[in-house]
């Protein structure tokens, strides 16, 4: 017995030695590795600064005819980056009334001017949330030793929201020009002098465009298998082609598709997906369908400092497809009024207003609309839009009045209902839901209303879906299930009774 005890004791002792030694080794190791860590040498060169797109206003250099030393592209790019970063840190500083980052982009005496303004603003509890949307710099001078540049930044479009005690006082859009002197210090091009030489309030002249389609009789389109995720690996041109043929055969003449903002790469557009979008337009053209392209799907930031990125996103997409025959209308954003509550109506509206101007500046030849989620919001920004569109999921009986009321408010612009429909879901989560016959009845009735008032329409949607991403209606099963059954064709490919009323004309294709 005592022998066993002794062995246990021995074992315990041995184990404790092992543990102590392990601990000692660990401590030494930790101390050693701590003493061996330090500043990474690469940090000296600023090479580790990751290039994240955070500020991308439109910048157009005037032809280079500067005095002094001829400039090379690399230096010009370095100057451009640091100069724009200078603006960016300034915007952040005025937004937060802090001085982070100012030191890097303004020389010692220049930064004092910013600090003074920040001091006044924080004392008065004023914040300035601003951004610049366009720059047109002219390089005036580059010194022989490559340490000093002078540029005139012409017609800088500045947008500012001024808050006092967290209440929005005003929105300002200005067009200003600046003379800027920059010095190369510590590897940064820093602002030494900045003198505003011109400034005037800026308003965009908006020309309205007629829609270049006849009457929109269309449908919102997603392939059955990949709703809200048709681009990328899931992209299947064969399915889309046959769907388009089907849509065309029913007598519809247009479709509405969505370009998700993040999925398309935000400011840095995924070229592969862009190519797929072009393919989709090609297929639509083949099927003789016009396309309403809805930009900024699932975008929800709207913050003023994010505007330049959205601008860059829109620019790339618009310029890739603006000359496409199948393109009919730009829908800036799907149901942005749903973000009014969380992001603030002023902010969302300001972004929309800017984006309308921007889209029109990039493509003056196509009509622009916003797909409001209800008729009440449809008057917002109506003077800027070429086409007023809203979504109608409310009571059918009220449609007649709603439309008439809206028509009195919007006299001179076409009005299109770009989403409407009825879910034919009735089941566990909604036992008193509508049947497929109810759905057919709904579409039959609504088509009569459309004919009566000559309303252009786009229905929701061609197919019933199997899976709805949670971003669309959330995770709640009664919402998910309802959303699955808005189609004219059910999950097995069988046409529902409503298919007969997909448009005013009777579908020419026979039911199979």
């Amino acid at each position: 017995m005592s022998k066993i005890n002794k062995n246990i004791l021995r074992g315990a002792l041995l184990l404790s030695y092992v543990l102590i030694i392990a601990l000692v080794i660990y401590v030494f190791g930790a101390v050693y590795s701590y003493l061996n860590t330090g500043a990474d040498r690469s940090k000296m060169l600023h090479t580790e600064v990751k290039q994240i797109d955070q500020y991308l206003p439109e910048i157009t250099w005037q032809p280079l005819t500067n005095e002094g030393r001829p400039i090379d592209t690399q230096t010009l790019t370095a100057i451009e980056n640091d100069y724009l970063d200078g603006w960016f840190v300034k915007h952040v500083a005025y937004k937060t009334n802090t001085t982070i980052g100012i030191d890097d982009y303004y020389t010692e005496s220049a930064r004092q001017n910013l600090f003074n303004i920040i001091a006044i603003n924080s004392k008065n509890n004023t914040t300035v949330v601003g951004t610049t949307l366009e720059h047109h710099p002219t390089l005036e001078f580059f010194s022989e030793d490559g340490q000093l540049v002078v540029l005139t930044d012409n017609e800088v479009i500045e947008y500012k929201q001024i808050f006092k005690d967290n209440a929005l006082i005003t929105e300002i859009t200005e067009k200003s020009s600046y003379k800027v002197t920059l010095l190369l210090e510590d590897g940064f091009w820093r602002v030494r002098h900045m003198v505003k030489i011109k400034s005037e309030p800026y308003t965009v002249f908006n020309s309205t465009q007629p829609i270049n389609t006849t009457t929109i009789n269309g449908i919102n389109y997603y392939p059955q298998a990949t709703p809200w995720a048709m681009f990328g690996d899931n992209f299947n041109p064969d399915i889309i082609a046959s769907d388009f043929e089907l849509i065309q055969s029913t007598g519809l003449n247009s479709i509405r598709v969505f370009v998700p903002y993040e999925d398309f790469g935000k400011s840095d557009i995924d070229q592969n997906k862009l190519a797929q979008l072009i393919t989709l337009l090609d297929l639509a053209e083949t099927a003789n369908l016009k396309v309403m392209v809805t930009l900024f799907d699932f975008y929800g930031d709207y913050s003023v400092l994010d505007w330049t990125l959205t601008q860059q996103h829109a620019k790339t997409i618009i310029n890739a497809i603006k000359d496409h025959e199948a393109l009919a209308v730009w829908d800036i954003k799907n149901e942005p009024n749903l973000d009014f509550e969380s992001r603030g109506k002023t902010l969302v509206t300001a972004w929309l207003a800017h984006m309308i101007d921007f889209v029109k500046s990039q493509d003056p030849n196509h009509a622009v609309t916003i797909g409001w989620s209800n008729a009440e919001s449809a008057t917002i920004l109506k003077e800027k839009l070429d086409l007023v569109s809203f979504h109608y999921y409310e009571d059918l009986e009220a449609l007649d009045t709603t439309f008439k009321v809206l028509k009195t408010k919007i006299k001179d612009k076409p009005i299109v209902i770009t989403e409407y429909g009825l879910s034919s879901y009735s089941g566990l989560w909604n036992p008193f839901g509508n049947s497929e016959d109810d759905q057919a009845e709904y579409h039959k009735t609504i088509q009569t209303v459309f004919s009566e008032h000559d309303i252009q329409f786009m229905s929701w949607t061609l197919y019933d879906f199997d899976k709805i991403p949670k971003e669309v209606v959330g995770r709640l099963p009664w919402r998910q299930n309802a959303q699955k059954h808005f189609g004219f064709i059910d999950e097995n490919g069988i046409r529902k009774p409503s298919f007969l009323f997909i448009t005013k004309k009777k579908p020419s294709a026979q039911q199979h």
Partner: protein, 404 residues
């Protein structure tokens, strides 16, 4: 209790009517700018005055070159006065404002000119050294600023002065875009140039620029040696002539010169030196056998010398070899040089040992006191017949079928 209700209802009625009154006032509010001056000088006290009827609770959005603020008015009878803080009134440039009225905001701008009194001259000079000859130049950039750190108005005259050798030059330049600059070219002589500037009676400090000689032109070389024997011990020194640029300036000290030596067999060696006062020198050990060297020097990529030829005479005519009894110890020497003196220590001797026509080993030894000794170890060279060959100072001696 009834009084309390009466009281409350009275107060609320009062509040209601006053709100109504304010509202009506607001909608009727008018504001007119009284300040007529549109141009100010930085540092002046600037106020924007408005005549108004109605609401005095308005803010003024104010924006200058660096940022924007909100201003609150000082109300004086029927006048609103917005005092610009120094932050705004001290900076030159366009200052724009907008009166935040509820109805129709009015806006405008004033121009703030920099002072015409100078406080500082910021000078940027570069590059700090230039090449003589008149094509290269340095650039002086001058930013004159007032005491509020505003660049002075354009078309301010700046005098740029520079001195070189015996001459002093003065020229006037007008500022444009807030700065003035001048390119100052070198002359044909090297030297140091002193540069300064002045503006509105303020003088800058002195800057200097080194005018360096231009690139070297072709030069000559020469050699120096104490004798012409190939003794493998003495040193030959190569020297360049004074290397100059095309304007007769002696090239900068430290100009790197490489001497390339090609011997009879075509092998190349090089040695190098840097110039002091235009001359560079470099050394090379004499060969230890009769040879002819062709030497040419280069300042790489810029200039080169002529070629000189040097002959080295054979210093050692012959040497003696003695084998020990067992043939395992080979003793050379004493090896004698050109005056029959023993050769200096360190002459290289190469022994090649062959067995059955195959090279087995090639030990190398240096002479000491004119002698050298090789020992062929038993363990390394077992019994047998070997051929040996000894080579030094270009002389080869062979011994066939040596029994070990």
């Amino acid at each position: 209790m009834t009084f309390k209700y009466l009281y409350i209802s009275f107060i609320s009625l009062l509040l209601l009517t006053s709100t109504v009154v304010v509202n009506t006032l607001e909608s009727d509010a008018t504001y007119t700018l009284l300040t007529t001056k549109r141009e100010f000088i930085a540092g002046e006290s600037i106020a924007l005055r408005f005549a108004f009827t109605g609401d005095s609770e308005v803010l003024l959005y104010a924006s200058n070159s660096y940022g924007s603020i909100l201003l609150e008015p000082v109300v004086n009878d029927k006048e609103l006065k917005f005092m610009l803080p120094e932050v705004m009134s001290n900076k030159s440039g366009v200052f724009n404002w907008q009166l935040q009225t509820t109805s129709h905001p009015i806006s405008g701008h004033i121009t703030i000119q920099p002072k015409s009194k100078i406080e500082a001259i910021e000078s940027y000079l570069g590059p700090p050294s230039i090449e003589a000859g008149g094509t290269d130049y340095t650039m002086l950039v001058v930013i004159p600023t007032d005491d509020l750190d505003n660049p002075l108005a354009d078309s301010t005259s700046v005098t740029i002065k520079h001195q070189f050798l015996t001459n002093t030059y003065v020229s006037d330049v007008m500022t444009k875009n807030g700065f003035a600059y001048k390119n100052i070219s070198s002359e044909t002589k090297k030297g140091r140039m002193l540069i300064s500037s002045s503006c509105l009676d303020l003088n800058s400090k002195e800057f200097d620029v080194n005018v360096m000689p231009a690139i070297p032109t072709d030069f000559k070389i020469d050699s120096e040696r104490i004798h012409d024997y190939a003794d493998g011990n003495q040193i030959t020194t190569f020297k360049t002539s004074v290397i100059k640029d095309r304007y007769d300036n002696i090239v900068s000290d430290g100009t790197f010169v490489t001497f390339f030596i090609t011997n009879t067999a075509g092998y190349k060696s090089k040695t190098s030196g840097t110039t002091i006062n235009g001359m560079a020198s470099a050394n090379m050990l004499h060969p230890d056998f009769e040879d002819q060297w062709s030497v040419k020097a280069y300042v790489e990529g810029m200039a080169n010398s002529d070629t000189i030829v040097l002959n080295y005479k054979q210093a050692i005519s012959d040497f003696e070899v003695a084998f020990s009894e067992d043939n395992r110890t080979l003793t050379l020497g004493p090896i004698q040089s050109f005056m029959s003196q023993r050769v200096p220590d360190g002459l290289t001797i190469k022994l090649s040992i062959y067995k059955d026509g195959m090279l087995v080993h090639q030990p190398i030894k240096d002479t000491f006191n004119g002698m050298a000794e090789f020992y062929l170890d038993k363990d390394r060279y077992p019994k047998g017949v070997y051929d040996v060959e000894l080579k030094t100072a270009g002389i080869v001696k062979s011994y066939k079928t040596i029994n070990l």
